[in-house]
Amino acid sequence: MDTAKRNDAWTMHRLGVISLFAGASSLLLSAGAQADDGKPVPGGTVIAALNSTTIPNLNTQMTSSVPALFAADVWADGLMTYDREANRVPRLAKSWTISEDGKTYTFNLREGVKWSDGKPFSAADVVFTLENFGKFNTYLTKLMPLVEKASAPDDKTFLLTLKQPLTATLDLFDKEVFPLMPKHIYEGKDIATHPANIAPVGLGPFKFDKWVSGQSITFVRNPHYWEAPKPYLDSVIFALIPNPQQRLNAIVNGEVNWFRPEVVQVPATQQAAKRGSFRVVPIVTNAPETAVIDFNLRRSPMNNVKVRQALFHAIDRQRIVRDVYQGLAETAKNAIPTQFKNLHDTSVNYDTMYAYDPKRAAQLLDEAGFPLKDGKRFALELAVISAAPYDAVAQVVQAQWTALGIDVKLSALDQQIWTNKVYTQHDFDASIISLTGRSNPVLGVDRSFVCNETSVPYANPTSYCNPEFDKVAANAASAPADQQKAHYKTYAEIIARDLNQLALTNSRVFEAVTNNFKNLDAQFNFSFNTHPNWAEAWLPKDKQ
């Protein structure tokens, strides 16, 4: 890096710090497209930064932790995935058919595929994975009770029969949700604590090599990868860097080649990228990332729907988009995120139903029996994890509710303490979190609204338990694809009426990557699986 670049990098770093704390103006996105200027050549290594020094489990059948998901794209594979526009594309299943009654799924598998240890892959592995890992997989909790039978009539056919239809089933076989596991490694062993969970054998382009505690995890080219001659790179090294500013520093200084900036640091990353040796790539279609407020309906006055409506009217969500997300988000429209194009109904729109209107909010609170008395209406506790962007969202909400005469006590907490307080103790009035929706409402949206009688964390903490709604959600999930939208419209209408949860914003996702890698854009065709698996990328000889 020459001195001029360093000066810029330093300035950009300062700018980054300033923008993180003060909320700098939004900036134009640096475009991601770059022409492929030759034939791929083998060789080279990529260093990608992951956001933790401790990763308990690499097996994403058993964890939804973000660093494990990033790593899984390198070593694991599945039956299908999505393209840039969120269309399903085959992976290890060449094709699939669904019976007319929606109960039988037949997957035709690729032939001649081998695991990274050289052993052959067959339909028996898929059956084994479902039967043995399904009960440990958080995304499959809705599917598993519906499974009548999973079988492998021959090596190349995986047959799944359900007791009743579940239209989301295909999305549950996405390679991120359902990475395939080798039967010959796990059979007869203690699966949940098997050593292969941290030294995995998979079907991905790279295979596990070594793990240096707290520092790095290395994957090398899988010689048995089914998409030969891919991958082109020799290895992928994950650098374990927990602090977001340090990840940005590391790419500015050329120590890593890839990281995913936190949404609040995207403008600073874009600034630094302008004269640096990397670029910021916007992900075309990312999984919904929705900032929400949950109300504790066990408590007064949160159990009063007029109060909840008033509190929604009192929030200027455009200000959250502008000040917290620096323009890199949109206001959430209803309970079904806009990413689900075939399911989201635009007629239910929070922008018009609950437009920012402090006067209307005050009027609703007066009607609900909470008029201003000595400048105050009532007090509430707003619980939040003390990390970006939640804390910043909470501060905006606190200011706007305070302006309405509500005495808002903000409790910014360690994540574990927050989880216990909100989901287990129910000791809160309102709570802020950002929820990932994944590729189907069944996977990440339903959990906010469906009755959660056993107080399971990261599912509906509000005590909202509406049999009418639960029935609509179940029908929506099992209706034929062409009829689902109508059900999800009713779904969104009920939530818009009852408001156990306020959906604030839906944020975008970006990745930063050094310019020397070729054919990288092909990596971002994964839509919901936005992180690269590096199978397509290559490095010119002079950059290796």
Binding site: S52, T53, P56
Partner: protein, 322 residues
């Protein structure tokens, strides 16, 4: 001598017992769910929770957990880290050398630096020089290491590009021998500078006060009246006599540093014991938390013992008292 060391080691046993019981009690009281930390921000499937809780005996009564732990520790088993999927002792043995390296090199810088400033400030006849060093040391000591660390990164890594911004070594290296060592040292430079300056200034302040105190002693006046030069007096009388408080302070600080410089390791992503402790608290990896705290306590006890032995070596009066 051996009896003295043995007695001190015995004193450490009740201390460690108290620490283990205290740590277990505190960790028991803090809300947290290690199984949730394993799964992430999605609901934990009941079957998975059951398997993990049974495997790691997370639902055992508090007293059973403490009792089992004490029995295991007595046999050299410090438990299993479920967030790292390996034995706690094994994990500590991998992380500790990194922390020991950082602390040792930092103190190797801090001690001569602090002593030099302390002696310069304490022995000068010009009040301006004393004021300059006293103020510099105070300001430098008051700057938190994590902030100083960030400033050093901005200047020497991002602006000048001389050093890496974080980490303990290159992830891809094609160097060998001296070049390899030089490459490793580049990663050590900034954390050592931040830590060394901070600890050096602490030492400088102690050293200055101690030097001034020593200079007022009768034997210094005697030495002066015998016509010894200033340099001779400092070398032969001041240095050794002023070092006693320094040994105590530096020994204690070094012992604490061996338990992990939490903020510094976080700022430089230096994966030693400090970073391990932070991660383990966040993920409620209680066995690891207790293990690191025990290691830290042992390090402090051991350093205090070494300080006592050094004291005896430096001061014959203490030797005769025993």
């Amino acid at each position: 001598m051996l009896r003295f060391v043995g007695r001190r080691a015995l004193y450490a046993i009740p201390l460690l017992l108290a620490i283990i019981i205290l740590m277990f009690s505190m960790l028991h009281m803090i809300p947290g769910d290690p199984v949730q930390a394993l799964v992430g921000d999605y609901p934990v499937p009941p079957a998975y929770r059951q398997v993990i809780e049974e495997k790691y005996r997370l639902n055992d009564p508090f007293l059973v957990q403490v009792g089992n732990y004490l029995l295991n520790v007595a046999q050299g088993d410090f438990g299993f880290s479920y967030q790292n999927q390996r034995g706690v002792l094994d994990l500590i043995l991998e992380r500790a050398p990194r922390t020991i390296l950082l602390a040792s090199v930092s103190f190797a810088l801090a001690i001569p630096l602090g002593m030099a400033i302390g002696i310069a400030a304490g022995t000068t006849r010009r009040p301006g020089v004393d004021k300059f060093w006293t103020t510099t040391a105070l300001i430098a000591y008051a700057i938190p290491t994590f902030w100083l660390g960030q400033l050093l990164v901005m200047l020497f890594a991002l602006r000048l590009g001389w050093f890496p911004t974080q980490g303990i070594g290159p992830l891809i290296s094609r160097t060998h021998g001296i070049a390899w060592l030089f490459e490793k040292l580049r990663y050590l430079a900034l954390p050592v500078l931040a830590f060394g300056i901070h600890e050096g200034m602490r030492i400088a302040r102690i050293m200055r006060a101690s030097v001034i105190d020593t200079l007022s002693q009768g034997y210094i006046i005697t030495a002066r009246s015998k016509g010894l030069s200033r340099g001779q007096i400092i070398r032969s009388h001041v240095l050794r006599n002023s070092s006693l408080p320094l040994v105590t302070i530096a020994g204690y600080a070094f012992g604490s540093a061996l338990g992990g410089a939490v903020l510094l390791e976080t700022v430089f992503t230096w994966p030693g014991l400090g970073l391990l402790l932070v991660d383990s608290i966040r993920l409620r990896d209680n066995m690891t938390v207790v293990g690191v705290v025990i290691f830290s306590a042992v390090a402090v006890v051991a350093m205090n013992l070494i300080v006592d032995l050094l004291y005896a070596a430096l001061d014959p009066r203490i030797r005769t008292m025993r």
